[in-house]
């Protein structure tokens, strides 16, 4: 608790003790009134002062004014009726203050909790000077400097490891709890925690441009982009209070007049004025106004702990309404790494065929050649290869161990006049001819990520209606991948522009309420990320373009995180709606009961403070998203 809160607590306790003591004090008349004024002022002097200031500044309808009128009114009635029952008014003031104190405490607490959750800000960087380590402000470290990160310390700035090897804990960045190994030559992103060895890192960015700064900036500003729910509540709050005040006034004046003139009954002014004052107690919109932004704040905080960065409350809201998810293929559902997937129609042993292919391709650095060399897996003896000829767009021919070897696509075989067998599998086909005869073909394809299939299923389970894949690859590859993952639709052979067009077409066809999310790896799909209702970039650790263009950034490149992000947003929005309905509902019921004379001021203040406390506690629930 801070100083202000402690002072408030003391005031509340003092007023409460006095109130109880006065209950047993046998004083009557004006003396009793004066005695009771003491705890009243102790509990609520600041409210009365603020109400006065509000009137001076022509801002009449604020909660201070309402509380002041309600309690002062109740005291006045007690005085007028000579009942001597001042307890109610003071208790109302007291409970109101308890509510305010709780709110301030709870908000402060969750503010700190969530900041701690995102506490990846490094406080210093170590620079070696004359054999000693000196701690400096990371802001002052220039690009290209060598910094030292000891075990247990956070990596402060992005860079490349020049010396040492270690295990890194990236959980603050990705939510992934498995540690990663890092060695000299590896790139390293700030925000990781160095666990085992001492690392020397050459920085490649300034602190302000480093991953950790970007993430902090993004998360801290996220709740400033307000959602529709928040806008609705602030508008509602602006209308609600004056509306309740007007009804209170009507309730105080109209029924007595009607009773008097229409029915000739006694007016019963005290009764109706008391009911009107009850109205005023319920008129504070606090519960709503605090719980909605708190829910979003907690939701965004909880999500970032899981490696899902949401750039704003509004995006969290849109994400929860996602009905169509469009994926980019390469790098999102697949690893973007090519691998030999099969060898068909081979006349010689697979191993032998691969060896020929690897040797023939040994001079090439094309990803496909690399994948063949990797599949072969042994050291290549280049002296066995001669006369390598690369025929661009077709393949290579070479002489291996004295035999001519040709490795390439259909065109190369046509060119050489060698009959070949087409492949039914999807992927890139490398036909092989050895000594002028067809020797079979190698199928190379991009590997599907291990969780892609589960991810698509999880999305369906989370209520996504349609999953679509867009790819620049051939139709066969696209359809095969889509079928194996259980995707609903696939559009292949698309150029980057074509992807934007396809997404636009889908945006036109869908209904307004069903939102479309596009998931990409941030590399050359920035325009699509921007165009979709919500752009999700994956595996964005260190990729500025992706962080820039997307609305939601998944730090990990695991596609399961997409479903997780949607579930987190659903939970958060669920809590928001619960709070809206619950708080408005209870208030309306209390207003009704108050108008009928069933609810007294005690019930009103309990409803007001109770609803606020429950709504705040419910809002904090949005933080817990680990097991979704």
């Amino acid at each position: 608790m801070n100083k202000k809160q402690k002072k408030m607590l003391m005031r509340i306790l003092a007023a409460a003790v006095l109130l109880i003591a006065l209950h047993f004090l046998p004083v009557t008349g004006i003396l009793r009134f004066l005695c009771y004024l003491v705890p009243y002022f102790i509990a609520g002097y600041d409210i009365l002062l603020k109400a006065g200031k509000g009137i001076k500044n022509r801002q009449v309808f604020d909660e201070n004014f309402l509380m002041a009128v309600a309690t002062a009114g109740a005291i006045a009635i007690a005085l007028y009726e000579q009942s001597g029952d001042y307890t109610e008014a003071i208790a109302v003031m007291l409970f109101y203050q308890v509510g305010e104190l709780f709110q301030s405490y709870a908000v402060g607490k969750s503010r700190r909790n969530i900041s701690e959750l995102m506490d990846i800000r490094p406080d210093y960087a170590n620079i070696e000077q004359e054999g000693n380590l000196e701690k400096v402000d990371p802001d002052e470290v220039e690009i290209g400097s060598i910094i030292v990160v000891q075990p247990g310390e956070k990596v402060p700035i992005d860079g490349v490891i020049v010396e040492g090897s270690s295990t890194l804990n990236t959980s603050a960045l990705t939510g992934e709890s498995l540690p990663r190994d890092a060695k000299a030559g590896d790139e390293i992103v700030s925000g990781c925690i160095n666990m085992t060895g001492v690392l020397k890192i050459q920085t490649t960015k300034e602190f302000g441009e480093s991953t950790v700064s970007k993430i902090l900036d993004l998360v801290e500003n996220a709740s400033s982009r307000k959602s529709k729910s928040e806008d609705f509540i602030s508008k509602f709050a602006r209308i609600y209070t004056p509306a309740v005040c007007a009804s209170a006034l009507a309730l105080a004046v109209l029924p007595p007049l009607v009773r008097m003139f229409a029915f000739g009954l006694p007016a019963g002014w005290e009764d109706w004025i008391y009911r009107a004052l009850t109205f005023l107690v319920i008129s504070c919109p606090c519960a709503l106004v605090i719980s909605i932004p708190l829910s979003f704040f907690a939701g965004i905080g909880g999500a970032s702990k899981e490696g899902v960065l949401v750039k704003g409350s509004n995006y969290l809201e849109t994400l929860s309404q996602t009905k169509i998810v469009v994926f980019d293929k390469t790098g999102t559902l697949t690893q973007g790494v090519f691998e030999v997937n099969g060898i068909h129609h081979n006349e010689m042993e697979e191993e032998k065929l691969l060896e020929y292919a690897a040797l023939a391709e040994s001079a090439s650095s094309h990803p496909i050649s690399k994948s063949i060399q990797k599949a072969y897996g042994k050291e290549l003896d280049r002296s066995r290869v001669s006369q390598i000829q690369e025929i661009s767009g077709n393949g290579v021919t070479a002489v291996v161990d004295g035999r001519t070897v040709a490795a390439g696509n259909d065109k190369l075989m046509d060119h050489l006049g060698i009959p070949y067998k087409s492949c039914r599998s999807a992927g890139t086909i490398i036909h092989m001819a050895v000594g002028g005869h067809y020797a079979g073909h190698i199928v190379i394809s991009d590997l599907v990520k291990p969780h892609s299939k589960d991810a698509v299923a999880a999305l369906k389970a989370a209520g996504v209606k349609k999953t679509v894949m867009l790819t620049g690859d051939g139709r066969k590859v696209g359809e095969q991948v889509a079928a194996s993952l259980g995707l609903d639709e696939v559009y292949s052979e698309l150029l980057p522009d074509g992807k934007v067009e396809k997404v636009e077409e889908m945006l036109r066809q869908k209904s307004e309420k069903a939102k479309l999310a596009f998931v990409g790896d941030g590399i050359n799909d920035a325009p699509v990320l921007r165009r979709a209702d919500i752009g999700i970039a994956m595996g964005a650790m260190g990729s500025d373009a992706a962080i820039e263009a997307a609305d939601v950034v998944l730090m990990d490149d695991d596609p399961l995180q997409i479903a997780k992000a949607i579930k987190i947003s659903r939970k958060c929005l669920g809590i928001v709606y619960q709070n809206i309905v619950f708080a408005i509902g209870i208030k309306l019921i209390c207003l009704l009961l108050g108008a009928l004379g069933i609810a007294n001021m005690w019930l009103a203040i309990f409803a007001d403070v109770g609803v606020m406390i429950i709504a705040v506690l419910n809002a904090i629930r949005a933080l817990f998203v680990k097991n979704l």
Binding site: K53, Q59, E100, S223, V289
Partner: protein
């Protein structure tokens, strides 16, 4: 031009009122108050001197919520 200021305010509704008051200050194009992070983001109109405008913003905010502070 956009600038971010640290603020101090006790209740969420007061923060909303501050936002409303800041938005309606001359020289301010748009303003957002983030109660959870206690920050005010003010977008100034072209050619306005932030310091001078912020004086007015603070004055207007004080009017709606006497117990608030903006640090600039």
């Amino acid at each position: 031009m956009k600038k971010t200021y640290k603020i101090d305010v006790d209740c969420a509704n007061c923060a909303n009122k501050m936002e409303h008051a800041a938005k309606n200050t001359a020289g301010v194009k748009d303003a957002t108050v983030n109660f959870m992070t206690l920050k005010m983001i003010v977008e100034f109109e072209e050619g306005q001197e932030p310091k001078a405008v912020m004086q007015d913003v603070l004055k207007n905010c004080k009017k709606v919520e006497s117990d608030c502070e903006i640090f600039f």
